[in-house]
Each structure stands twice: as C-alpha cells, then as structure tokens.
Amino acid sequence: MSGLGRVVRSGVARRRVQTVVIGLATTMAVTSSVLGGSLLVASSAPFDDGFATQRGAHLSARFDAGKVTADQLKAPVSGVTASAGPFPVTSVTPSDDGPGDAPPLTVVGRAEPGGDPVDAVTVTEGEWADAPGELVVSADGPYAHSPTGSGVGRRLTLADGSTVTVVGVARSVSRTADGWVPPSWISAPEGYQVLYRFASAATTEQVDAARAAVTAAVPEGALSGSQSWLVLKQVADRSIAVFVPFLVAFGLLGLFMSLLVVGNVVAGAVGAGTRRIGILKALGFTPAQVVWAYMAQALIPAAVGTAIGVVAGNLLAIPVLAETEDVYGAVTLTVAPWVNVVVIAGALALVSVTAWVSALRAGRLRTVDAIAVGRTPRPGRGRWAARLTARLAVPRPVGLGLARPFARPARAAAMVAAVLFGATAVTFAVGLASSLNQLQIARNHNSADVKIEGFGRGGPGPGPGVRPAERDVDPVAVSAAISAQAGTRAHYRTSETEVTVSGVAGTTAVVSFTGDATWDGYQLVSGRWFAQPGEAVAPTTFLVATGTAVGDTVTLDDGDKSVTVRIVGDVFEMSNDGMVVLTDAATFTSGSDRSSHHIAVRPGTDVTSYIDGLNSALKPLGATARPGRDDQASDTIILINSLTATLTLMLVAVAAMGVLNALVLDTRERIRDLGVHKALGMTPRQTIAMVLASVVVIGVVGGAVGVPAGVALHEAVLPAMGESAGISLPPSVFAVHDPLSLLLLGVGGLLIAVVGALLPAGWAAKTSTATALRAE
C-alpha cells in the first residue's frame, strides 16, 4: 500500500464516527434521490411512449352535429399540425341481459385503427370492426373483459333492441372513445369528433389557446366538448406522480444534509489535524496529496453510502411502482438504469466537490505553521457569551456549556443546520401525515355511525358482500324505517348512476342525495354545497376534464335523458377517479340506481343496540344495517406514510449524528480544557451537563427555524402533490398545525441536538483526567 493509501486508511479508521455519519448521510440522500428520480421518470414514461407511438391527440374535440357539418370541420385551423376526423359520434347504452342498466358508451365511427395521422389506435385483442353490428371496445372501458375473461365475442343489446358483437379490444392513449364501429353504422350522428395535434401544446395555456382557435373556426356553440391530452397525462401519471413532490423534498433535504455533514467532517478533520498535516508535509507529501488524502477520507464512506442508498432506493421503488402497474396493463415499471447512474455520479461528484473545498485549506497550510500550531483553537471568539453565562443563575457547568457554541461559531452553525434540517423533516413529516389523515377523512366522508348500502333496483349485479335479496329493496321504505327508529339524529340517502358528459371519454358517476348530507364530512374546496334542484357540486378532476369551473353548467346524459346542472361548488371527492357529480335527487334520478343510507345517531345512543333495533325494522324490507366509520386507508396513503416515516427517521438520525460528529470534534479539541475542569473538581455528571448544555442554544435555534421551515415545506409540497394527483385539496388538509404541536415540534429540535450530544457527553465524562491534561 502506498504512503498516501496508508494515510487515508488510518484517517478513515481513526475517525469512525465521522465515517459512519458520512455513510449514513449519503445513504439517505441517495435513497431519496433514486426513489424520487425513478418515480419521476416512471410516472411519465409509459404515457409519453404510448402517446408518441400513437401520435396522440393534443385535443379531442366533439362538435354538435346540429350546429356544424362534417365539411365545415375539415376547414384548416391555425396552429394545427395534424388532425383526424371528423368521425361520427353517438352514445349507446348496451346491456348483456336487457336495456337500461349498464353504463353508456361514447361510440365513434372509424374505418381503420392506425391509418389516421392522429390517434393511431392499437388493437390489443381481436380485430377492427369493419362490418355493421361489430364493435371494438376500449381496453380501458368496462366491456374489455367479461366475467369469463376476454370481452371479445360478447354480444350486447342496445336500447333500440338491436345487438352488437364485440370483435376487438383496442387502446387509445388519447382515450378518444369507449368504442369504435364502422362509420356507416352511425347513420344519424349526435356529433362529430375531430382529433388535433398542435404546434404548441406543452402547457395548459397553449392547449387553451389552441382550443380557442378551434372554437373560433366553427359556428358559435358547435364545440360541445373537448378533452386536453394534459388532463389524460395527469390522470395516467398521478398514481406515481403524487409521490414525487414529497420525495423531491426529502431528496433535497437529504442532499443538503449530506453535503453539510461531509463539509463539516472534512473541515473538522483538517482543523483538528493541523499538526498531522504539518508532519505529512514535512515528510514530503505534496499539497495535492494532502488534499486528496482528506478528500478520500470522505469519499470512501460516501461511496459505501451511495452503494447502499442505490440498493435501498431500488428496493423501496418496487412497491410504489407496483401501485401503478394496473394503470398500464401488462407494462411492468422498473427503475430506469440511467437514474441510478445519474444519482451515483451526482452524489459522488457533489461529495467530491464539497470535500475538495473543505480540504483545500490542508493543501494551503504552510508546513512550518502547521507543525507549530497545537490542537487548541485560538481563543478570542465568544468571550462575551462566556462573560454573560458566568452571570446567569444556572449551575456553572451549564453556564460554561451554554457559552460554548459562541466560541466556535462556524461549527455551531453547522450543528444548527443539522438540527434545522432534522426539525424541518420532522415537522414536514408530521404535517404530511396529519394532512393525509385529514385527506383520508375528507375522502371517506365517513362520519356516519350506521350504514345501509349496496342495494338497488334491477342493477347490473350486487356489490361485494351484498346479498342478491337486497337488490329489490325500496329505498323510500328504508328511509321511513330509519326516520322512525329511536336514536336517529340525521340520515340521508344516496343513489348512484353513470352518465356521459359531452366531450369526455368514459363515464361520470352521478350521486343523487336525498336529505342533508353536509354533516357527513363532505368538504368543499371552493363554492358551496348544492341548495336547490338544478345545482350540483363536483371535484376539480371533473371540472378540469370538462373544462368547466364553479358557476358553469354541464349536461349529464344517462342514455334516457339529458339534465343540465349548474356547478356551484368544487367538492373534494375521489370516487370514480374524481369523475363524479353530486347533486340533489330532485335534480337527477335514474331508474337503475344503487342506493345507500348513511345515519348519525343521537349522542349517547348505543350504536350496536341501535343497529339491532333498526335491523329488526329493516328485515321485512330485505335490507341490513351495519356499523359505519369503517375507515380504510388507501394503499397510496399507507405507502406515503411509510416512506415518510422511513426517510424522516433517516434524516433525524443523520441530523443527530451531525451534532454528534461536531461535538466529537469539539470534545477532542477541548480535551485539555476538559481535563482542567475535571482536575478542578468537575464531576462526571457536571461534565455531561456542560456538554449537553452546549447544544441547548443550537437545538433551540435549529428547532425555532426548522419548524417554520417544515411548515413552509408542507405548505409548498402538499399543493404540489394535489396538483400531481389532479385534485384540489380542502382547507382542512392544510390546517393541521396548532401552536401546541408546533411548540412540541420545536422541542423536537432540542431533542435531536441532545440525542446527538449524549454520546460525546458520555465520552467527555469518562475521559481520564490525567490523559486529558497530557493531551497536546
């Protein structure tokens, strides 16, 4: 082994604590980075690839056939680089066993799947429909599969009594239709579909501008609906994308922490090893060799930490990526190899640069000065603090400790930064967990003590766990039984059906309410709850997909009738992927609805007895009540909470080790002073008190700054997560910090500092006085 190698090896071995700290900090930073980076890439890759391959439509526009002709739609539009259509469009409501009880389909007439310049639909099963009575269904729709497996070969009966046969399953990344038929099959189209690609469509503003150009090119009111590719991309990406903002936050925190620790360790090693550096130079080491020796002492543990972090990041990515595999069917998502390469190279490069900057001083030190300088730092700094604390009414060891940070302000600042990052991470994690809990409450709107659900008249089939006998329950009779039951405080009934909304692929769920439901945890992002017939509330996802806002109207079509409602509120609702409209039963009811009842009991009422009594009354009606509040956390939220807890623990550990590392350096530097204190009669307990007191100011400052920083991070990341998921979050999700919890989190900063100081304090207490007094 070369001389330089021996110096590096002995440096790494002598500074075990620092080596472990660097390794752990790097592990944490790399784990977060690999996880965040791979999810960022994985979240957009499948959609982007599919969209490029299929020449996806930037805008899928539907026009009212009564207001515009097919020929008019062929006129060139400014900014359009390619278009397909116009294709005839109609809505059908098929059924296996009779009309009127299945979701309606938006069917487009297209002669061939891949020949158009836009939206080259991929046939995944069977063949394309080229004869009357043949239908190709969307791979993303409900008819792609039958109870026995493939949907191909399935015969569907339409409302007019005619039948169609599913001959193929196809996927359109642009989600331009629920089904495709030969154009000749649609003799009287309700509308026309034109698919556009634009020169500029990267942002919502650009797509909106292009949509405006399309609207201007046709008669007024002809454009009855449109769907931006950005909305589809967001829907496709969101199951992973929701993880990205908070992982990026943790990645950045970890990275800063890692660089802070590396810089501090190397600078500390140089500062504490001045004499050693002088000896090395006196023996003939060049300045470059000395710098390299100190850089390598950081790079070795950093490389090990990077390797562990890459493995951990890849392993942690598996469950997150698995969450989304359903979205892309057979596509299996994996961590992109280049992400690993970039993170490894980036982490090591940043560590190298930080270590190099910190080690430069070692190269610049004049040999003669380095040999002459002892380990004790030059006095002079922070004397005002020592004078001040000498007069404080606290035990002298505590006073001595309190003044200590001011003697080494740079080192104290590094410790404050470590605690700050730790406190920020904890505050952010606690806030995120509280917000997700609120989100869960808002999502479940699960305040009902008792529920009766899952039955309907003539529905397509019972829901999970619902007995067939419950299908013919009369919801009005059930409501009456509930009202008559002693102990009922409030109750409402919902019934759900599926409709189509013009211009939007797939179906939208309409939930109709009978009775006041506002007590059941529904939370509004903006606007108000519906108050009269004709009014409705809907979530942001629906508003964005339909290009509407609170105050606008939308038309809901269940195949039998069309109802126009005015959206009066943006409600937080995630069922049916956010494609849902909530309204009063007087506004929209359907003969094929599925009903459920939600009941709040009076305070003091025993829920079990209430359910027993109600079930006796419901038995003749064929319905069964069961306890409510069956909070089920979503897998995504459980996963986010688990990742947050893991990453926070790692960050806090690194923060505490950052304090530990700095204090170890400090204790080594002050070993002689420590010996003097002990020779003068300082007991081990007083020594521990002095060392712990030396981090009190650091912990308090770190906590005082870290907590607001964590709150700010929470305020920034949460909306970004909502945006990634395509949802607007209700105010309750943000209002999760109260003064007491903030105070406790601030104390958490102090706790991190004290935990980090415990080991050095113990070492200081155990140090032999005679040895300490002999130290140079």
Binding site: R383, D673, A679, T683, Q686
Partner: protein, 230 residues
C-alpha cells in the same frame, strides 16, 4: 507531631506491560510540610502526583489524603475530593483562555456550589493577596507567565484545600518569574499551607521546600529534610 495529610502505603502502579511506574512506595506528608518530589524523566513523579490527586488509581497499596482513602474513589467522588481538598498548579498554568482571570479563579468554588457572592469575594481576596487583582477582568492570554501562574495558584487555593499540588510550577517560566512563583509558594507554606511540588529543578526544591524525596525508577531513592535557602 502534626496530622498526616498524605499517607501512601506500599503503592505500586504499572501501565500496560511496561516497567512499574511506581513500585512499593510508602510515604507520609504531614500538615504544614513542604515536600519536593524530585527525579529524572520517567522516574514516576507524575504518577505519584496523579495518585495523590485522585486522577489515577494504584494497582496495589493505599493512598489516603486528608483522611480520605483516595485509591477506592469513583470518578464523581474523586472529583468532589479534588475540589474540596486539593489545589493543583500546573507547569503550563492550564487557565481557561475564554474565561477572565476572575472567572477562572472562581470556577472551583462554583463547581462546589458556593454562593456566587461569597465566591466572588473570596476570589477577589486571593487575587489581591497574590498581587494580580488589577488583572481580574483581563483574559489569561494578556498576562505574563508569572502572572498566569499566580492566577493559577489563586484558583488552586479557592476552596481552601488541605493540600496544594504543584507540577513543575516554574517549568514554563523565565528565571525572574520562576523565582517570583517560588517565593509565593514559600510564603503560602509559611502561612501553613501543606505543599507538594513535583519538579526536576533542584533550585526550586531547595528554595521553597524543606524536604525532598528522590524518585528513581519508581522507587524512593532518598527522602531528606533540607534547610530552605531563603
């Protein structure tokens, strides 16, 4: 005959596998005595001082100082023992550079829990007595070597120790300052302070002590009472 302050019985100490630092040393120092421990480097002087100060423990034998069995004390008890019964003066002063002279001197009393007013008064008296009162608010770095050692002596006397241990107290001083410190120690002993000085400076031993103990290879090679050269 005055009361023994230091009693060592058959004390031995060996570090790792090396030769014994001290071997079967027995020694008594009585109240009011001034004793110099002399010997070349590696003779066991510092080991003896550490054992008396409770900074180290013997492998065998007993060490009793001012009625306290020091050899069996734990860390906390030996710290309390030092602060109550021992004053230490070091070759390189070992003043805390970030504390003022007054704060350095008052520190042992503060560690012992003495009331602030009482401690400050005692420190002021000592600084005045040792002729460095004008430097009370200065930092040690601004003082001469002799002045620093006077401050160190003041600190050592703060808790009225039964025994003053001085480890090469003039070793880092010029001749004039060394004589000054030597005179100070002599005065203190004349006032009744029991004094043990570890040194290899025969002149210092003769100037401020009346008894010299010669250590060679961890054994007492000589124990003689001499007349101080005053």
């Amino acid at each position: 005959m005055t009361t023994p302050v230091i009693e060592l019985r058959d004390v031995s100490r060996r570090y790792d596998d090396g030769p014994p630092a001290l071997s079967d040393v027995s020694l008594t120092v009585r109240e009011g005595e001034a004793v110099a421990i002399l010997g070349p480097s590696g003779s066991g002087k510092s080991t003896l001082l550490n054992l008396i100060a409770g900074l180290d423990r013997p492998d065998t034998g007993t060490v009793t100082v001012a009625g306290v069995r020091v050899d069996g004390l734990g860390e906390a008890a030996s710290a309390r023992y030092r602060r109550a019964r021992i004053g230490m003066v070091f070759q390189f002063f070992n003043l805390l550079d970030d504390l003022t002279v007054a704060d350095n001197v008052v520190l042992p009393a503060q560690l012992a829990g003495m009331a602030r007013g009482e401690a400050s008064k005692r420190a002021a008296e000592l600084l005045d007595q040792l002729g460095v009162a004008r430097h009370a608010r200065a930092y040690p770095g601004r003082l001469s070597g002799g002045e620093r050692q006077r401050v160190a002596v003041a600190r050592a006397l703060m808790n009225r120790p039964a025994l003053l241990l001085a480890d090469e107290p003039t070793g880092a001083l010029d001749t004039a300052s060394g004589e000054d410190v030597s005179a100070l120690l002599t005065e203190l002993n004349a006032d009744g302070q029991t004094l043990v000085v570890v040194t290899h400076d025969l002149a210092l031993a003769r100037s401020c002590t009346r008894r010299t103990i010669q250590l060679v290879d961890g054994r007492i090679a000589g124990d003689v009472v001499v007349e101080p050269t005053r």
